[in-house]
């Protein structure tokens, strides 16, 4: 009773001061008033509900239900909170402190939230949640956050924004969401069912309410994750501002506090953005966390993972190095690095170093040890050295058996390879690469029909795998005639169209629409093909050949990357795939001796990649088909100027030179080709012919024998089109 009275007296006192512009008095009065209200609430909470409380004699206490008591408690807190917000806003407005945060006003007598004000602002929603009344708790959170911020409430808002984001991420979902400007649903699964009928309604009025954010075009979240993200970004910006930068021991505690509060925010951001697949934006956010990250493993590791997920491999590997320094015992970290080194980066030496780290951990690496050996074997195998890795360490890992098979296949030990690929297939029956390898091995044994059957079986499980389809085209041209192969090419074009019109746009890039991405892709594409010719700075032979081999590498790996939905190496793939399809079609037409159609197909590919050596090589073949040897020679030479190590081109060029009777030059070209790839049987054959023409019969015989031997184990497409990645 007395509390009430003095409460209202205080209220009118405040109003009076306000009208008389005695601003300096108001904070004290407000503090008194909310202290009154809050102690009221605290008392009510303490007093057991059965005993009639003294302070509420005027209410019909005898038949007051617990519900009413709750109501009264909450009213006390909410009212005090609202009053506090309102007057803090007014006080600040008047004292001229615009809440441009970083700048302390000239008269910076920073108002401070006392214990009472803070309790008033936080206690109400805490009670809601305690009672299992989520809907109203969220509502109260939002009310406080919508009120225009003051300097004094900044810390509080940071905490509350984070807490609300937690509730949104942990306790709500898309279907149970309602936007801050909508009315909450009347029946909500969020609320504790035992509390039904206990809905709390606001029963106090204030003459003025705290000012809320308003204006045209205010962004209002419409979705669960949206609101959580907005709150977390706000929270992040504040946490960032409080980052304690000094490292002197006296500030250790402060630093830990600021680190912890930021770290929670960044974890929540990770959860929110991760479930929407927005890894690129996430990596940008986590980069901002780096000012906290000195010697903090978790933040470094998360940054590395987000960069990796966003496809920024080079930076990810660098950050992982720091992670390894901070936590040298964790085998996962170097393995992640190897994965990127082997995959998108092709940094084989780096990869070898990382893989050795894992192996050097020995017993400590436990289950990862097998992976370590697998990784190093892969690196060696990619370096085309003799890779022997230990698959006995993880006999249940189908990858080990598969890569062993692949390595044996590359070194043309076909029967042994078949044994291992069968083992891999037993462990993982529908692994696409194992199936593909099996088909290629069968084709190496010249069982083309069996190979085609395997490919078709694999395609029934992976109908959109271009890598398999390329092989299928080759095999069909061989077994069923070129018409079938052309049909498959057409089918591939259809798949390409539907695949990239229907692809999941969320997988990378922040938000751009598909069309935008396609355009961006094309732009990048131009940028990528440019350095081949027009960039004067990279004019040295070495630079161009690297650029060319990059293009080549990318082209030949196009297919490999399209397996299932997982891999996203780069934005170029859709176009490279398309070019590849056209080139395959051109090849089939060449096989049918139809130069006009082949030219048309090649032109399609050339529109996408005018300077690709593959395109130029195909042009050369068409010229050859037309009997135009000079043109053909020119095209081949151009192709070699872009990629000096393209074996197929070298072989054709050698052949033409042979026909033009320029034997020694031809021999030189072919010998170079053999250096690059010693398993290309047609090169050996051509070399033999040249040597024969030069009268070197003994050497020629040897070449022919080699060619014969290699031909017997030659697959329809090189084994290396099967991707090797961890």
């Amino acid at each position: 009773m007395t509390a009430r009275k003095s409460g209202s007296r205080l209220e009118s006192e405040i109003e009076r001061c306000r009208s008389e512009s005695q601003w300096d008095k108001i904070p004290e009065l407000v503090r008194q008033l909310s202290a009154k209200l809050i102690s009221n609430g605290l008392c009510l909470e303490k007093v057991p509900s059965s005993s009639p409380s003294l302070s509420n004699k005027n209410s019909p206490s005898t038949n007051r239900s617990p519900a009413e008591r709750e109501q009264e408690i909450i009213t006390c807190y909410e009212k005090s909170g609202d009053i506090a917000l309102l007057y803090l806003q007014e006080a600040e407005k008047v004292s001229g402190i615009q809440n441009r945060s970083p700048k302390p006003g000239p008269t910076s007598q920073d108002l401070e939230l006392g214990y009472f004000l803070e309790t008033g602002l936080q206690r109400a929603h805490v009670i809601h949640f305690k009672n299992g009344n989520l809907t109203q708790g969220v509502g109260r959170f939002r009310e406080i956050l919508r009120a225009v911020e003051t300097r004094t409430t900044q810390n509080l808002r940071m905490t509350i924004a984070r807490q609300l984001a937690e509730i949104l991420l942990r306790g709500m979902c898309e279907q149970s969401y309602w936007s801050p400007l909508e009315d909450p649903p009347t029946v909500s699964p969020l609320d504790n069912p035992t509390q039904k009928g206990l809905t709390y309604s606001k029963n106090y009025t204030l003459s003025r309410r705290p000012r809320v954010y308003s204006g045209e075009n205010l962004f209002c979240p419409q979705e669960n994750t949206e609101e959580a993200l907005l709150l977390l970004l706000i929270s992040e910006s504040m946490a960032n501002r409080d980052a304690v930068l000094s490292r002197i021991p006296e500030h250790n505690n402060d630093r830990i506090i600021s680190l912890q509060s930021a770290s929670v925010v960044y974890d929540l951001l990770t959860i929110a953005l991760g479930r929407r697949g927005q890894y690129e934006m996430l990596s940008e956010c986590l980069e901002r966390a780096m000012k906290f990250a000195f010697e903090e493993f978790h933040l470094w590791y998360q940054l590395a993972l987000s960069l990796m997920a966003a496809g920024k491999s080079a930076r990810a590997v660098k950050v992982l190095k720091e992670c390894i320094r901070l936590k040298p015992d964790d085998p996962t970290i170097p393995l992640l690095a190897v994965k990127m080194c082997i995959g998108p980066l092709h940094w084989l030496d780096e990869g070898e170093k990382f893989a050795k780290m894992v192996i050097d951990m020995e017993e400590k690496a436990a289950e990862f040890r097998g992976k370590g050996y697998l990784a190093i074997g892969l690196v060696y195998s990619l370096k085309a050295t003799d890779g022997k890795f230990c698959s006995s360490l993880s006999p249940t890992d189908h990858l080990a058996a598969f890569y062993l098979a692949l390595q044996l296949a590359v070194s043309r030990q076909i029967p042994e390879a078949l044994g291992y690929v069968r083992q891999a297939l037993q462990l993982q029956g529908d692994d696409v690469h194992s199936l593909h390898l099996l088909a290629l091995l069968l084709s190496a044994q010249k069982h083309y029909h069996d190979a085609l059957n395997i490919i078709e079986m694999a395609l029934s499980e992976y109908p959109e795998n271009f890598n398999l389809l390329y092989t299928k085209v080759k095999l069909e041209a061989m077994c069923r005639g070129p018409e079938e192969a052309l049909l498959t090419c057409k089918h591939m074009l259809q798949i390409w169209k539907s695949f990239y019109n229907l692809t999941n746009p969320s997988d990378s890039g922040r938000g751009s629409s598909l069309l935008d991405r396609a355009i961006a892709d094309r732009r990048q594409l131009n940028a990528m093909t440019l350095p081949d010719f027009s960039d004067p700075d990279t004019g040295s032979v070495h630079a161009t050949s690297i650029a060319a081999s990059r293009v080549e590498q990318a082209l030949s790996e196009v297919a490999s990357s399209l397996q299932s939905s997982a891999p996203k190496h780069g934005p170029l793939h859709p176009w490279m795939t398309l070019a590849q399809i056209w080139l395959h079609a051109a090849e089939v037409y060449i096989g049918m001796s139809k130069p006009a159609e082949a030219t048309a197909c090649t032109q399609e590919a050339a529109n996408l990649f005018p300077t690709s050596h593959n395109v130029l090589y195909m042009r050369g073949q068409i010229a050859e088909l037309r009997g135009n040897m000079d043109d053909a020679k020119r095209w081949y030479e151009e192709a070699l100027s872009i990629n000096p190590t393209h074996v197929k081109t070298m072989q054709r060029l050698g052949l033409i030179l042979h026909q033009l009777q320029r034997y020694s030059l031809s021999e030189k070209v072919l010998r170079d080709a053999v250096q690059v790839n010693s398993t290309a049987h047609d090169v050996w054959n051509s070399l033999g012919e040249v040597l024969q023409a030069q009268g070197n019969a003994a050497a020629a015989t040897e070449c022919f024998l080699t060619a014969l031997e290699l031909e017997a184990s030659s697959p329809i497409l090189p084994f290396t089109i099967i991707p090797r990645a961890l």
């Binding site: 970083p102 401070e112 936080q122 929603h125 805490v126 919508r146 810390n155 509080l156 807490q163 509730i167 942990r170 979902c173 279907q175 149970s176 400007l181 504790n192 954010y213 075009n217 962004f219 209002c220 949206e226 907005l230 706000i234 910006s237 504040m238 960032n240 409080d242 000094s246 500030h251 402060d254 630093r255 506090i257 600021s258 770290s263 974890d267 927005q278 980069e287 901002r288 780096m290 978790h298 998360q302 987000s306 960069l307 920024k312 491999s313 930076r315 996962t332 289950e367 029956g429 499980e461 992976y462 229907l502 746009p505 629409s513 990528m528 350095p531 990279t538 630079a543 299932s564 939905s565």
Partner: protein
């Protein structure tokens, strides 16, 4: 299976079939009252040889097809169990016995990918941007990021499609398997709040088992049924994590945490970055102990957290640095300071992400991209230079005077000796006037350092600031350098590349221009003029 359970299921099967259309809403309301039904249905689903499996799957699909949300959710609660049974059978040799579960999963998928009018559903959301006012904030109140270039770039809110345009599927193939399952889990997660506790248990069980079966960790589990390894997809694991995360905070604290551990374990073995990223974040942000369960399932909890000045005022923070600058600004009597700071301040973070985003790819694609990156940044710093100059017109007057003074000096001393000065002075001055660092080198190698050191630029931002902060305390001893400290390092590096005359302005006006006090960049300029 017990006879009573069988009876319950059979009754449920026949009851719905004979139900008239009008009574469906009341039926939906009363379904949850059949306490023994849900456990009995789990039994049926778990047993591939149960002859009730087919009618049950059929009926579950019928419920899902109805327009009543509660009936759809009734079916949805079994999704985790169905996915588990499906994946287990796929991993085993015997693939034929999966038929009706596959059909049910595909049926739900095909219903969910279209909206009511039969159009492909597009699930999208907007990425909020702090540079646009919202119901919770005003851009200007969050500090100086409002006008940064990066923030302006992102001024438009971006709408992102995170799932959509899925094609109808008639059969499962190895290739589309996880596309379908991911989408189904997405549906489950979008209604996860409505699921009963038994479904949370099922999702935790499913996640644990799918991740460990066939791996050494399975030996440590109570569940040891021999089973082949199940291939998993990173996106699918992210969806599992989302469901498990919800379970942890809504009644399944222990089971949920076990599942979380198992998913992280598997993500490590598979070297999948996405689930590892989320899993780490979830583990790291777990409260230390289980929240007290008050009334059954709800364990979400909020506490009154004291927020008042937990960080002592003396500590150097990003904000305090800025305040520091403000004071100095005021002391210097600079007008329009706020604007110039808005533009130069990289530490707020809003700009850094966006403006740096053009750089990281530099190393990957080599020369061309790196150069483009540096072009961008130099043009932006050029802009900065212009604006900064505008705001410092006043200083210009003084500068011109100084310039004249310098000219005089220059004429007096022979050019050779100045060169010597430059060589001697720069290393000595370095520790004090770090912003003026080694501009000669930097100008020369802008593009290369941009592309190769982009990491340093971004990552060391924090450390640089610390350095700057340390410099701040030096300020008392070396008032001469006070002015230059205003700038954060990143902007300084750029500024010094492009406007040597600006660094002259940084020399405080009152300082006597002796040889010792010359900043190296000043010498540099002389050299270039000589």
């Amino acid at each position: 299976m017990l006879g009573s359970e069988r009876g319950v299921v059979e009754e449920w099967l026949s009851e719905f079939k004979s139900l008239p259309e009008t009574r469906i809403p009341s039926y939906a309301g009363s379904l949850h009252l059949k306490k023994s039904l849900v456990p009995a249905l789990y039994r049926v689903i778990q047993d591939p040889n149960n002859e009730l499996l087919e009618p049950v799957c059929h009926q579950l699909f019928e419920l899902y097809r109805s327009s009543e949300d509660r009936l759809r959710r009734f079916t949805l609660q079994f999704l985790p169990e169905l996915v588990w049974v499906y994946l287990r059978v796929t991993a085993s040799r015997d693939r034929q016995s999966n038929g009706c579960i596959e059909a049910l999963l595909l049926g739900i998928y095909n219903l969910e990918i279209v909206d009511k009018d039969g159009n492909s559903k597009l699930l999208s959301f907007t990425i909020p941007s702090l540079s646009k006012p919202s119901v919770y904030h005003e851009p200007s109140s969050l500090g100086s990021m409002a006008l940064t270039e990066g923030a302006l770039c992102q001024h438009d809110l971006i709408r992102v499609v995170y799932s959509g345009l899925h094609p109808q599927r008639e059969t499962f193939t190895a290739q589309n398997r996880f596309e379908v399952l991911c989408f189904l889990m997405l549906c489950y997660n979008s209604a996860v709040v409505y699921m009963p506790l038994s479904s949370y248990q099922s999702v935790c069980r499913m996640s644990s088992r799918v991740c460990v079966c066939g791996f050494p960790r399975q030996q440590q589990k109570l569940w040891r049924e021999p089973c082949n390894r199940v291939l998993l997809d990173p996106e699918f694991m992210v969806q599992m994590l989302t469901a498990v995360y919800h379970a942890i905070y809504n009644g399944e604290w222990e089971m949920g945490q076990e599942a979380l551990e198992d998913i992280v374990y598997r993500a490590q073995l598979e070297l999948y970055s996405q689930p590892l990223l989320l899993g780490n974040a979830m583990k790291n942000s777990l409260p230390e102990s289980a929240p007290e369960t008050q009334r059954g399932r709800k364990v979400l909890q909020v506490e009154v957290t004291p927020t008042i000045s937990r960080i002592s005022i003396s500590a150097i923070t990003t904000a305090s640095i800025r305040r520091h600058r403000w004071k100095r600004e005021d002391a210097d009597g600079m007008s329009g300071g706020e604007d110039s700071f808005n533009i130069n301040d990289p530490d707020e973070g809003f700009s850094s992400g966006a403006s740096n985003s053009s750089q990281p790819s530099g190393t990957k694609t080599g020369g061309s991209l790196g150069q483009r990156g540096s072009l961008n940044s130099s043009s932006s710093s050029f802009k900065k230079a212009i604006t900064a100059r505008l705001s410092r017109d006043k200083d210009k007057e003084k500068d011109r005077e100084k310039e004249r003074e310098r000219d005089r000096e220059r004429q007096q001393s022979p050019p050779g000796s100045i060169k010597l000065d430059a060589i001697h002075l720069s290393p000595i001055k370095k520790h004090l006037s770090f912003p003026a660092g080694h501009p000669l080198v930097r100008t020369g190698s802008t593009s290369s350092s941009k592309s190769f050191d982009c990491m340093n630029l971004n990552l060391n931002g924090g450390e640089d600031e610390r350095e700057e902060a340390a410099g701040g305390s030096d300020k008392e001893t070396g008032p001469l350098l006070g002015g230059s400290l205003r700038h954060s390092t990143v902007s300084l590096q750029e500024e010094h590349l492009n406007r040597p005359e600006e660094s002259q302005a940084l020399l405080s006006p009152g300082a006597p221009l002796t040889k010792q006090s010359r900043s190296p960049s000043f010498n540099m300029q002389i050299i270039s003029q000589v």
